[in-house]
Symmetry: C2
Subunit: 208 residues, 2 copies
């Protein structure tokens, strides 16, 4: 019994890794259950003994992507202090640039975090929600330093707004849309956007 | 000869309107050549006497979407003056909010402007590029008022950065992503983002 569980666990891990390679190579559209089954060496139907459905498989790949993103953001903020508004601004810039670098270096896996939609009627499981939300701690702490009088709900809103803004610049830029910031200017413009917002926040904080 | 040309022109218009309805209803994935042909009342192959390929058809639909977006932004800026930095900021907020309202009211057609990718190797025709780029005039004029010393190339970069940032907030918000700004807060957060950037720009302009 223990052996069966262990074997299943190993097979599940192999399946998630195969799915990750498929998405990294060809994007979410490149994920084919039949190919995965043959790569992992099991029958097509047996995949659904390892994961409930393709949604779960994509979420498990996303979980690995988010863990690496978390590590990248942790590294970008390591040893930083938040004693002044300048340090808080510098941390927000560092986090945004680390986000941009991660997206560029993990383009298909990163896109999949946003492109994936659950099957009709299915809900995102609690663990997957937690994994996404915990990422905001890298932004919330410096934002609080910049807006010490703001309430928690307001800081959460602000963190989502700032994240979405940086995400928009990075996403359109990496897709090389006509209207986007050109790739070679991307790092500089992400920095500029975050700095402008920080100057705005710091000056509001003084007024409030 | 004249009659044939006229008839073709009418048929092309009917085809573009049918494609627009299909995209508005079911998104870019809902565009099926076979269904369009039956709706317009021509053979499947005859579609390609009216447009070169599906890319051209989607671009022609996009052209109509952009014309309506342009009208919405024109209305949002009508009668506004740019005599002060406050007026310039107010115009940028008005343009961003009109953009948000347009996206909400034309969700699938607006998404298609960004989701559509040309077939491998095909280039976007000059007229379609011009139509996208001309939209930036609503942002460039107030940005110049906020940063009078900035050169043109720099203002163009800044306009793309600000556009992409607002687009990111609107896009994630309207897709109701977990990490997004909630829909009911969207207008207010778009306003807040643009205001923060404007405060940052105005204070930089004073220093420069």
């Amino acid at each position: 019994m223990v052996k069966t569980t262990e074997r299943r666990e190993r097979q599940r891990e192999a399946l998630v890794l195969a799915a990750e390679r498929a998405i990294a190579g060809r994007g979410l559209a490149g994920l084919k259950a039949r190919e995965l089954a043959s790569e992992v060496g099991c029958a097509l139907g047996a995949i659904y003994n390892l994961v409930q459905d393709m949604d779960e498989l994509v979420l498990r790949v996303g979980s690995r992507t988010l863990a690496r993103l978390d590590a990248a953001l942790a590294q970008a903020t390591q040893g930083r202090r938040l004693d002044s508004k300048e340090e808080a601004s510098a941390q927000l810039v560092a986090v945004a640039q680390a986000y941009c670098a991660f997206a560029r270096g993990n383009l298909q896996l990163w896109r999949t975090l946003f492109e994936h939609r659950m099957a009709e009627g299915a809900i995102v499981p609690e663990w997957a929600i937690d994994e996404q939300m915990t990422m905001f701690r890298y932004i919330l702490a410096p934002l609080q330093r910049l807006q010490p009088q703001a309430g928690e709900a307001d800081l959460v809103l602000l963190s989502r707004t700032l994240f979405s803004a940086v995400h928009g610049v990075v996403m359109l830029g990496l897709e090389e849309k006509l209207v986007a910031v050109p790739q070679r200017e991307l790092d500089r413009q992400v920095e500029r956007l975050v700095e402008l917002v920080c100057v705005g926040l710091a000056s509001q904080g003084q007024g409030g």
